[in-house]
Each structure stands twice: as C-alpha cells, then as structure tokens.
C-alpha cells in the first residue's frame, strides 16, 4: 500500500472527480471533495516524510520499468510542492461551500467541485510525474478545469477572463508540447532522468536549443512571468473568490516547479549558464515584474485585482531567486514559494470572506469594515504584514533569504531593489488598511462577520503566517536539502 503512494496521490482526486458528479450538488459534494483533498494532503505529508528520511522514491506505473514505462519520481522538491498544493486546496475547500453559495447557482455547484478535483489532480500529476509527456497531459487537465472554474465566476466578465486565459494558456501548453516533441526527436525518450542523460550527447544542435526556448517561454506563460502576465489579473479577479485563493497558492507554484525541474534536472547546466544568459534574464525580468506590477497594484480600485498584481510581483521575487542561483538563491525561491502560498491564500481568503458578505471587494465598498467584520479585517492586515515582510511573519523569512542570497553574490543594487519592492507593498496594503479602519462606511447597513467555515480557514492561514515566521525549521530544512540536491545533482 505504502509503496503505491505516488500514484495514489494523483489517482485519488482524479477518481474523486467523477464520484463527486454522482453525488450531485450541494453539501454532500462539498464534504466529499473536502475529504478527498484532505486525504491527498495526508498522502503528500507521508510522501514528504518518507522522502526526507529515505531519499528519492521511484514508482513504475503499471509495473513497466523506466525509461519505457511511465515513472513517477518523488524527490524533496516535488514532495514539498505536493504538500503546498494539497494543503492549499484543502484549506480553500474548507471555506468553499460558504463562499460559492452566494456566487454560484445551486445547479452548478456540483460541477464546481468536479472541476476543482480535476484541477487538483492535474496539478498534483504535474508535480509527481517523472515523465515529460505526462507533464503535458496533466498540464492540460489542470488548465482545462481551471478555465471552467474561472468561467463560473459571479458575473459575465469571468467568461471573457476565462477565454483570454484559455488562449494564452493553450499557447503556453502548445509551446511546452513542441519543446517536448523536439527533445523526443533528438533523444527518443520522454523520461526525465533518461532525458538528462541523453541530452548532453545530443550535443549543441539547434533542435535542442529550440526545444529549450519553447519550453522556457511556454512555462513562463503559465507562470505569468513579466511580460507574459497579462492573463493573470483578469483571471484572478473574475474567478469565484475561493478559486482565486486556491489558484494563487498553487497554480503558479506548479509552473515555477516546472521551470526549476527543466533548468536544473533535465537540461544540461551549460544551457542556463552559457548558451542563454538565463541568470541575468531572470534577475532582470524579476525586478521588472516586482516594480511594474507593484506600481500598477497601487492604482487598482478593485482590491482582488490589486492583490493579483501583487502576485505577479511576488513571482518576480521567486524568479530573482532562481536568477541568483546557487544553493542559497534556490533555497530563497523555495522558501518564498511556500511563504507566498501562505500569504496570498490568506489575503484572497479574507477578500473571499468580504465578497461573501458584501458582494464586492472594491476599495470604497470595503470602507469601515474594520468594525463590522473585525476578524476578517484583522486577518487581512496580518496577511498584508506578511506580504510586506514584517518580522515574526513568514514573509520576513523569505526576504531575509532573498536579500542574503543577493548580498552574498555581491549584487548590491539588487539588495536595494528587493527591499524597495517591499516598500511599495506597504503602499498598496496600507490603502486597504486605511479604508477598512479609517474611512466611514458608505452605508450603515448591518454587515455580519464572515461565515464560520471561512473564518476558520482564514485564521488557520493567518496563524500559519505567524507560526512559520517564528518556527522556521520545516521550510528552512526542507528547502535547504532540496536546493542542495538540485544544485549538486545537476547533469
């Protein structure tokens, strides 16, 4: 049983989805989806501890040995992301029923959970598999279900947002497929480990370069790396609120995982060091992402949109870490992946709670909510502080590692740019804080505090932000070992 965990991780939500369809709509489907997601989380947690204690797990699907059969390969990197994705899905699902009851009509609610579980299965599949083509398959599963989830948003604009994402996402996925195809032409294999061994001997052919370029651009599209980020603000702000909370914490992280996997495990290290000046490109794009997105975020009236822009900026930080490279840079990225999932889930969860009560998340509609919804508002403030990087919150740890990595490699201007970026975060977070606490409410209609399930989920995340800002052993030790393994294991 335990040896089958890698496939169980993916099969659980994949089979849970049709079962959810049978269960129909409403509470039963919700409870079932929650159960499936929680089980996935348990599996991921067991996988992580196993990998941490006993090393890499390789699982041959259907008993067909790699490189002919499909291999599922769990190392610390993807075990860590499996935990992040399944945890964020579980916490978001906890609040989902209360959130969608106001946003999605009853007959569609069953389908909502089906799409959710499919999306989860896709994301977990991308992470777990050790096969390049499998990545594409699961990428399509997760993407298609994500388009569905977004199009279920409360108003008609969500259809347009989903359509735009569909176009961009499909281009991205196609690029990845082209890249994988080109690699297959050159090496005759799709297994990642096998590819890593064969690609160097395939030599400096332009086909391999092209494959690398296609894959990089394709992933960057899914990652919403500046300047390929234009789909993200619409998709995040028009999707049902709770979906945003889930996607912000998981989808871009999975794309980032692919970026790390392809640059560190599959392609020879000369590629990212000599053929393309990837380090400089990543740092430059990351800095541009941080500044352009943060500045745009300041001027947004719709707060969900502002926080979505902030996500683009935060992706910038993660990519900067990759660009700095080395164990410390990679570790900074991996820590920020986790911490960013925490803080963004918190912020979007608080916004979902506000949307559930007043039906909007514009700055003016949120005025004076500090008194009417004290717990939700304070949760938002803590999430915001974590985003800024105040000590004793998770965000501070990210900043510490990122700045250390930049300083140790002698990139002094970068140190200040990173910190300057978090100063801009103060501005766009503080606009909301002032609206919540200092502006009089637009109307005096009574507003109740958020539903209990949402509060529970929100405060789990809030406490997570504080807890992982104080007790950092888990993310620090795992990210450090994962980064070391990746850097030292480079082909």
């Amino acid at each position: 049983m335990l040896s089958h965990l890698p496939i169980l991780q993916v099969i659980l939500p994949l089979l849970g989805a049709p079962a959810c369809l049978i269960l129909g709509r409403g509470k039963l489907a919700w409870l079932f989806a929650l159960l499936v997601s929680a089980l996935s989380f348990c599996v991921a947690a067991i996988l992580l501890t196993t990998v941490y204690n006993h090393g890499v797990i390789s699982y041959a699907l259907g008993g067909w040995q790699a490189p002919w059969g499909i291999e599922y390969r769990i190392d610390l990197l993807n075990a860590w992301l499996l935990v992040i994705v399944s945890a964020s899905s579980t916490i978001s699902l906890l609040a989902a029923q209360s959130s969608i009851s106001t946003e999605i009509s009853l007959e569609k609610q069953g389908l909502f959970y089906v799409a959710w579980l499919l999306c989860l299965a896709g994301l977990l599949g991308i992470l777990a598999t050790g096969d390049a083509f499998n990545v594409f398959v699961f990428l399509e599963i997760s993407s298609l279900s994500t388009y569905t989830l977004i199009s279920l948003g409360p108003n008609r604009k969500s259809l347009w947002a989903a359509f735009r994402y569909l176009i961009m996402g499909t281009i991205g996925a196609t690029f990845i497929l082209i890249g994988i195809g080109l690699m297959y032409i050159m090496t005759g294999t799709l297994n990642m480990q096998d590819l890593a061994q064969r690609l160097p001997s395939a030599g400096e052919s332009s086909t391999v370069f092209a494959a690398y370029a296609f894959i990089l651009v394709g992933i960057s599209l899914k990652l919403a790396l500046f300047p390929l980020h234009l789909w993200l603000p619409n998709a995040y702000s028009q999707a049902p609120s709770i979906v945003t909370s889930f996607l912000a914490a998981s989808a871009t992280k999975v794309a980032l995982y692919l970026l790390i996997r392809f640059t560190y495990t599959i392609f020879p290290s000369e590629f990212s060091q000599f053929v393309v000046p990837l380090a400089d490109i990543f740092v430059a794009l990351g800095v541009l992402a941080v500044f352009s997105a943060s500045i745009v975020a300041i001027y947004q009236e719709e707060i969900k949109r502002a926080i979505a822009y902030s996500s683009i900026a935060q992706i910038g930080y993660m990519v900067i870490g990759l660009g700095i490279g080395g164990v410390l840079g990679l570790q900074a990225t991996l820590i920020h992946v986790f911490n960013h999932a925490l803080m963004k889930a918190t912020l979007f969860m608080a916004l979902a709670a506000i949307a559930a009560r007043i039906g909007a998340t514009t700055l003016t509609s949120m005025q004076g909510l500090g008194r009417k919804m004290p717990w939700t508002s304070f949760g938002f403030v803590v999430g915001g502080l974590s985003l800024i990087g105040v000590p004793l919150t998770a965000g501070f740890i990210s900043k510490w590692y990122l700045v250390s990595a930049a300083a140790l490699t002698g990139r002094w201007p970068l140190v200040f740019l990173i910190l300057l970026g978090s100063l801009i975060a103060i501005v766009y977070i503080w606009r909301v804080v002032e609206a919540l606490y200092f502006k009089p409410a637009a109307d005096n209609s009574p507003v109740k505090e958020a539903p209990i399930a949402m509060l529970l989920a929100l405060w789990l995340l809030v406490l997570g932000n504080v807890y992982f800002g104080i007790d950092t052993r888990l993310p620090v030790s795992i990210s450090s070992e994962a980064a070391t393994a990746l850097v030292e294991g480079r082909p």
């Binding site: 502080l385 800024i388 990087g389 105040v390 000590p391 004793l392 740890i397 900043k399 510490w400 700045v403 250390s404 300083a407 140790l408 140190v415 200040f416 910190l419 300057l420 978090s422 100063l423 103060i426 503080w430 002032e434 606490y437 200092f438 800002g469 104080i470 007790d471 950092t472 620090v476």
Partner: protein, 490 residues
C-alpha cells in the same frame, strides 16, 4: 522564583495586563486599575533586575531560534537596565496621567488605547533587554506597528495623514536601510550578538564599515536623525499621553538606545574611530541639533515645539555616541534618562493645558500661570532640565557630553552644543515666564480656567520633582552608566 525568568516577567507583564484591560473594557475604573497595577509590578520587576545585576548575577534568557544562528534571546546589561528602568518608571506615571487626560478630554476607544499602550511597553522591555541585533530589530518593528493605532487614535483626516508619515518613514527606513545593514552584518561578522568591543573581524574593509554605519544611522529612524525626522512632528496628532510616553520617551529612546547599542557593541568604539564616515555623521548630527532648535523657535503650537525640541535633544545623544569615547557614550546614556524625565513633564503640562483651557498655541498661553500655577511651575523646572541648568538633572548629562567634545577636540561641536542650549532657553523659557508675568496684556478670561484634573497633576509633580531629585542624587545613575564598559563580556 528564579531571577532569570524575571526577564520573561518584564516582557510578559504588560501583555498579561491586556487580558485584564479587555476583560474590563466596560468598567473604566477596573480597566485603569489593571493598567496601573501592571505598571507598578513592572517597575518592581525592573528594580529587582537592577538589584540582581548589581550583585553581579548574569541574567540571560533564550527564547527560541528563528533561523539557524538567529535567536530571540535576552540579556540584562547596564544600558538595557537604564532604558528599562526609565520606561517602566514612567509607564505607571503616564497611566495615572492618562486617566485624568483621557477622561477630561472624553476620548473614544479608550480600551484600544490602553491595549496598544501595553503592547508598546512590552516591546520596549524586549528592546531594552535584547541580547542581539536580530531580537532588537524584531521588537523595533513591533513597536512601530503597535504605536500606529495610537498615532491615528482620533481617526480624523489629519490623524490619518500623520499616521501615514509616521509608518511610512519608520517602516520605510527600517526595511530599506536597517534590515539590509543587519543582513550584511550577519554575513560579514557571522554573528549579531552585542559584544564588548564590537563583532566585526579586523580585516573588514573600511568602505563596507562606512556604508554599514550610514545605513544603521539612517535606518534607525526612531532616533530621528535629520533628514528622517519628519515622523516625529507628524506623530503629534496622537493624544498627549502617547506623545508624552511614546514620542518623548519610549519610541524615540528606543531609537537612540538601539543606535548606542549598535555603535558600542556591534562596531565597538575603536573601530568607530577609524571609520571616516563617523566624522561626517557627527557633523550631520550637530547640524540637526541646531536646525531642529531653530525650527522649534518658530513653532507656535506647543506640542510641535516640543517635538522639534525632542529631535534636537536626540541629536545630542546620537552625537555623544558617535564621538566614540567612553565619556560621550556615558553622557548619551545619561541623557536618555534625564531628557526622558524633563520632556515627559513638558508634554504632561502641554496636555494639562489643553484639557483645562483648550489651548494648544503658545501665543494664547500668556497669563496662564495665575490659573494653573502648579502646571506652569512644573513646566519651568522641566525647561531648566532640558536646557541643562542646575538644580536639575539635565545638568549632568550635558556636562558629560561637553567633556566628551573637549576630550576629542571637536571644538565646533562643543560650540554647537552651547549654541543649542542657548536656543533651548529662547524657545522654552518664555512660555512659563510669560505665563507668570504677562505684563500689560493680562488675559481677562483667565479666571475661568482651573487647574488640570488631579490625576494628571500628581503625575506632573512626580516627574518634575524627579528632575530635581536626580540633580542632588545622581549617583545610582552614574554607577549604572559607568558599568556599560566595565562589565565583562558575556
């Protein structure tokens, strides 16, 4: 009870008081009683720490390790005790004063006020006893955040603006300058523990040290070194007890305290003397002292004048520490205590005048001495202490600072200090003098004004008499500051 756990008690007492304050939020008398009792307990705890310290006990406490090698831990030393004692002595006094002021002024949200106040004091205790720079930084940020609701207490547009400047400058500088300086120090020195003689290895390039010094001096904006001083006048929109305890004592003194700690125990005085940037910063601080005094002269709003006076006096402390000689640091440390007593009295008086007569402009206070004699007398005594005239406590610290400038041959800075003292006379003394001797333009309506509420008056008298007492009995203070350097390395 184990004396080391007293450090925990010192930090946790204000936090525990919050529970009581919240529990009695609907019974103001009980709520204020809780604050007062907690204040007295905190003072006793600090006194006990003081006596244990004098008996030579090593008091340190390890809380937890946040990142490998970065600990939240605490240790009692002479400088920390000085700061801790001053803050814990003035907290109950301010609470007493606040009872009179907040009720006399009918302020809203009094529970939130007392809660944030208590968190601020807890943060101050943690800063005072921080064993390393990391711990200090963590609670430095906590202090910025928990005082923000106090600055914006009234919730008006002006308060919001003030809060923006306040948080913008304090958080901005701490993230943009202070944090990178700490991280680089950590990478260079491999440690952030405060140590006698500094922690930098000998071969550290002098240019890097200069850069770090500049980053630290500007990064600790709570010390209000010009040009990052704007937050202090902006914070004056807060209720007067907040201005009194936090913006004359706790927050600003946390700033200069951090600076002294960094200069003495991270750089070390010997290293500091070799860094060329020290001289420039010295003159910058000196310029700040005079400029702030000049600006203070032009302020008609009493609280604004006091705020600029605070900036000027903080400049003395920064300057004294940057002189990088023992007498300078000792003078600075003493000035933390003496200025705290003097300035808190002045703010108390300003608040008392506001409550009793609703006057905040200096020009309208002529002749007020007749109706508010006690307040104005206290104002006079405290002014003397700020100026540095006997028989008040301020004499001693200014004496040491002047000695230090002579010792290091900085005659220009000595002139700066003297000039600034003259300016102090010019902007402080006219206020009580014209209140008592209004001349011909005596105010007819003055008879309608009565003295401040009794609770506030008791507080004013207590701090004013402390100013005088410390002149006649300065020995405990001397002994404490002279141990800053003699105390063995941990």
């Amino acid at each position: 009870m184990n004396t080391t756990s007293l450090i925990d008690v010192a930090i946790l007492t204000p936090l525990i008081a919050i529970v009581g304050v919240l529990a009695f939020s609907r019974k103001p008398n009980m709520r204020e009683a809780v604050s007062l009792i907690a204040g007295v307990i905190l003072l006793l705890v600090n006194l006990k720490l003081y006596s244990s310290f004098n008996q030579g006990e090593a008091l340190s406490r390890h809380w937890l390790e946040i990142l490998p090698g970065l600990n939240l831990s605490f240790r009692v030393d002479a400088l920390g005790l000085l700061f801790g004692l001053v803050a814990s002595l003035l907290w109950p006094v301010t609470t007493l004063y606040a009872i009179g002021y907040m009720r006399g002024h009918n302020e809203d949200h009094q529970t939130r006020f007392y809660v944030c106040f208590a968190i601020a004091i807890a943060a101050v205790m943690a800063i005072a006893y921080a064993e390393n720079l990391f711990t200090l930084f963590v609670f430095y940020e906590v202090l910025s955040l928990c005082t923000y609701p106090l600055v914006t207490h009234t919730g008006t547009e002006k308060a919001k603006q003030g809060g923006r400047v306040y948080l913008g400058i304090l958080m901005g500088t701490s993230i943009a300058f202070f944090l990178p300086a700490i991280i680089v120090t950590w990478l260079v020195a491999g440690s952030l523990d405060f140590q006698q003689g500094g922690i930098f290895p000998e071969q550290t390039p002098i240019a890097l040290l200069s850069l770090l010094l500049v980053l630290f001096v500007f990064g600790v904006a709570k010390a209000a070194v010009m040009p990052f001083h704007r937050w202090l006048p902006a914070a004056m929109v807060a209720p007067t007890p907040v201005s009194a305890l936090l913006h004359a004592v706790a927050v600003v003194k946390a700033g200069v305290f951090s600076l002294i700690k960094i200069l003495v125990f991270i750089f070390g005085l010997d290293t500091l003397q070799e860094i060329p940037a020290t001289d420039y910063l010295l003159y910058l601080a000196g310029a700040g002292v005079v400029l702030a005094s000049l600006v203070a002269l032009r302020q008609d709003n009493l609280k604004a004048r006091l705020a600029y006076s605070t900036i000027s006096q903080l400049g003395y402390i920064t300057l004294g520490a940057l002189l990088a000689v023992e007498s300078g640091v000792m003078g600075s440390a003493m000035h933390i205590a003496t200025h705290a007593l003097g300035k808190i009295t002045l703010f108390f008086c300003a608040g008392a005048i506001l409550v009793a007569s609703h006057k905040s402009e200096i020009s309208s206070m002529t002749g007020l001495g007749r109706s508010m004699p006690i307040t104005m007398a206290a104002f006079f005594i405290a002014s003397l202490s700020i100026i540095g005239l006997p028989p008040t406590a301020g004499t001693w610290s200014k004496w040491w600072l002047l000695t230090a400038t002579l010792e290091t041959d900085h005659l220009i800075l000595m002139a700066v200090l003297i000039l600034s003292s003259l300016l102090n006379i010019a902007y402080l003394l006219p206020i009580p003098l014209r209140a008592f001797f209004p001349g011909k333009q005596a105010d007819a309506q003055a008879t309608a004004i009565h003295e401040a509420p009794p609770a506030a008056l008791i507080a004013i008298c207590a701090t004013a008499s402390a100013c005088v007492l410390l002149f006649f009995f300065p020995n405990p203070l001397f002994e404490l500051v002279s141990q800053i350097f003699t105390e063995g390395t941990p």
